[in-house]
Amino acid sequence: MAQTALEARAELDPRPLMIGEQDDGSLNKSILDFVWAKPSKGWWALFLLGMAGTGLLTMAISVTIGKGIGMWGNNIPVAWAYGIVNFVWWIGIGHAGTLISAILLLFQQKWRTSINRFAEAMTLFAVMQAGLFPILHLGRPWYAYWLFPYPATYHLWPQFKSPLMWDVFAVSTYFISSFLFWYLGLIPDLASLRDSSSTRLKRRVYGVFALGWRGSARHWHHYKIAYLLLAGLCTPLVVSVHTIVSWDFAVAILPGWHTTIFPPYFVAGAVFSGFAMVITLMVPARKVMGLKNVITARHLEAMCKVILVTSMIVGYGYAMEHFFAWYSGNEYEAHVFKNRAVGQFKYVYFMMWTCNVIIPQLFWFRWFRSNIYVMWIISVLINVGMWTERFVIVVTSLQQDYLPSSWADYHPTWVDWSLFTGTLGFFGMLFLLFLKFVPAVALSEVKELRHELEHARREHPEHAHENQPVMDLSEMEGAKP
């Protein structure tokens, strides 16, 4: 039965990017209100929890510095353990932000608009947590500045042949450019906050950070160019950071670490875990903060699809590793993979496969991509799964090396656990402060999107349904009050 393009499109068009009739005023209100409102009890409760975690972190850091990293569970041969696992886990989470901001911008994906600010902030705070671990792992963190090449009277010079050294530059460059990207995007919104301030003090403070933004055509012109250029420059950075992290392992000739698929497989894993963390944080936040009109089922579904794609790539990485462990005929390589599956950490290995490869397959089905409860649970499991993946890679490859006489089990100590949970608290605290002080959604970009959608609707009224609330959102999210 023949269909006209309009009839076909009515069936095929994606869900709306924005719900309901919005104008600049209503968008201002829905996005800025949370900043101006007094913090709720729930916010305070979470904030105190975050403070408690930060306290725990401070204590664990003090113990580590005061007594040395002998307080950790590391041993010989497992000389790398939680410190590196947590570093890689956090830095991986830090990849979603710049990917959403930069790569999706270059791909002209409009759905990035409502979630980029959120993800970028997450990136910054995650990279901060990540940075703590290698510095503490130095053992004498007060000498951390030795990592930088400077004309020292001791004639100290960093070992430039080591990927650990490249990490120093990659991660610090990444942090700086992600911060600039985030801040540049914030400027118009800071000006909006300045303009809607209720007191003189607030106006002054936001005014200073808005750098005199007036929203003139000239400002926008420069702003757009700078933003696109930064996006282009950040794209190779996103790829480079986790590539270099993968080299920390692959450059070594250790079985389980040395394999050529590592760079792309690590990058995909980073994006995978980053998107999972965005969903973990965003699903509750959009509900509490009343952002459901701008972060719609369409956004969440798109993120679930990115998670599915990256999960497939991570699964491909596992498949290649395992195939070559057998195909190479190298008995040490084969032993490492056997030890992963049946050794001390077989349950961790089992979790890795289940959470990272098997469970995300549910996202092939639309129902799972549309149910926020299911989606949230899966995203948490992926966060767990990606932590176990790094654990499996780091610990099980070291545990049983070439000499059976030097094999050892590994047991993390309370300091290891405190450092890890402490960073979770610190991260949460920073994130809550972010939600409270700046708009969690890029207001100016959402306004621009609304204008574009309205413009398109006026020019082509026949496609009006694309921007109409075709369905009530609550219908799509399953059981819901």
Binding site: T243, T260, F324
Partner: protein
């Protein structure tokens, strides 16, 4: 604009051109393959390796185009619809390679040393490893796997193209829906089959060597070349004033050029990852691959690839104007297609420890001529644009933001 009238009139002409190119391709193809067969008599190994390069080159382009088509459907892309039928016509050549695979299957013994390993060459340790790998590297498994690969490729390619053509009749939404589903759901099958095909047909030329990124490396090269071919077809359509050429605008070319730029960088990333990790590891079971490619002239082929498969096209493609001009974009794309051949040649030929053999040219022209002829033949008689795609309008209106 009125809403219900078709965007493209019903009398939009069907594609009937390319007759000369088709006939020329067929003649060149058959004659060249006949010459290649003659070459085989004199130098079986060099000829069959040259043929393998040509086969993987054109097959890689067809499969690269298939991945591009599927990924665009999976993502619900709209801008590419005006060039989609051209993309599909590259995909349409897939079944031809089943036939062209036969010489490789029949001559496997000549080029794959694992078929009948020589203990004098491999030594005791090598023979032990080969015995371990025998479960994978044996002729029955090799043949069976090839059958599975071709079954997947021909089925998916046929459906992806067939459903699109069926939509030309009535423009029903169900075809778009099916294409999106297969586009997404089929990609893992293509990814794994292409990976293991590259292991079977290229990596196993040195059966003791392995690299877990190799499948991605071969895919990346074929993908770049398929985008390049699509750029050339789009530019040709514009310059020849074909009806479809009047629908393709600068913004479409610009996007194709961006794809080319991005995936040239991707190829370089994968190539560098493989080379650097093997070089720095310097392990006895991996390093021979690099050592072999540092002997004699091969070293300079490697340098050539760095400069002309990455640095130069990357820098040139940064220019916005060059991407938006059909003539310059096609010139760059043609260059990329040439260097991709050099890349595959560099992957395959060093195993033979022999110089250039003239069958490299005849087999390239043979497989290529038949591919071009077959592709045009399958495009003829149909529409060169998916004229009832519900989103065609968005593609026609597409402008670079």
């Amino acid at each position: 604009m009125s809403t219900d009238a078709p965007l493209i009139p019903d009398d939009f002409p069907r594609f009937e051109g390319g007759r000369t190119a088709m006939l020329a391709g067929a003649v060149i193809g058959i004659v060249s393959l006949a010459l290649t067969a003659v070459g085989f008599v004199g130098a079986p190994q060099a000829t069959l390796l040259s043929y393998l390069v040509a086969f993987m080159y054109w097959l890689g382009i067809a499969l690269g185009a298939l991945v591009l088509l599927m990924a665009n459907h999976a993502a619900g892309a709209r801008w590419n619809i005006v060039v989609r039928r051209l993309n599909e016509s590259i995909v349409a050549t897939t079944p031809l390679y089943l036939l062209l695979f036969l010489p490789i299957l029949l001559g496997a013994r000549v080029i794959f040393s694992w078929v009948a390993p020589d203990a004098a060459v491999f030594g005791a340790e090598g023979m032990k490893l080969l015995a371990h790998k025998h479960a994978y590297l044996n002729m029955s498994a090799f043949t069976l796997r090839a059958a599975v690969y071709f079954a997947i490729w021909i089925a998916v390619a046929g459906l992806m193209r067939g459903w699109s053509i069926r939509q030309d009749q009535g423009g029903e939404a169900q075809w778009t829906r099916r294409l999106r589903k297969l586009g997404a759901g089929g990609l893992p099958f293509i990814a794994y089959s292409l990976t293991f095909a590259s292991f079977d047909w290229l990596m196993s030329l040195n059966p003791l060597w392995g690299s877990s990124i190799f499948g991605l490396y071969i895919f990346a090269g074929g993908f770049v070349a398929s985008i390049a071919l699509l750029c050339i077809l789009a530019a040709l359509a514009i310059r020849s004033h074909a009806p479809v050429g009047r629908l393709i605008n600068e913004s479409h070319l610009h996007n194709l050029g961006k794809y080319l730029l991005a995936f040239i960088a991707f190829w370089a990333y994968i190539a560098f990852s493989q080379y650097m990790l093997i070089w720095v590891g310097n392990l006895p079971d991996e390093i021979p691959w690099i050592l072999l490619r540092r002997e004699g002239g091969w070293r300079w082929v490697g340098v050539f690839l760095i400069v002309f498969h990455f640095v130069v096209p990357f820098l040139v493609l940064l220019s916005r104007d060059l991407k938006r001009n059909p003539r310059t974009l096609a010139a760059i794309a043609a260059w990329v297609m040439i260097v991709h051949y050099v890349d595959l040649y560099w992957v395959v030929l060093p195993v033979a420890h022999a110089g250039f053999h003239w069958t490299a040219i005849t087999s390239f022209a043979g497989v290529g001529g038949l591919s071009v002829a077959f592709g045009i033949w399958r495009l003829r008689g149909g529409y060169a644009v998916p004229l009832r795609d519900p989103y065609l309008e968005d593609s026609l209106r597409y402008v670079q933001p």
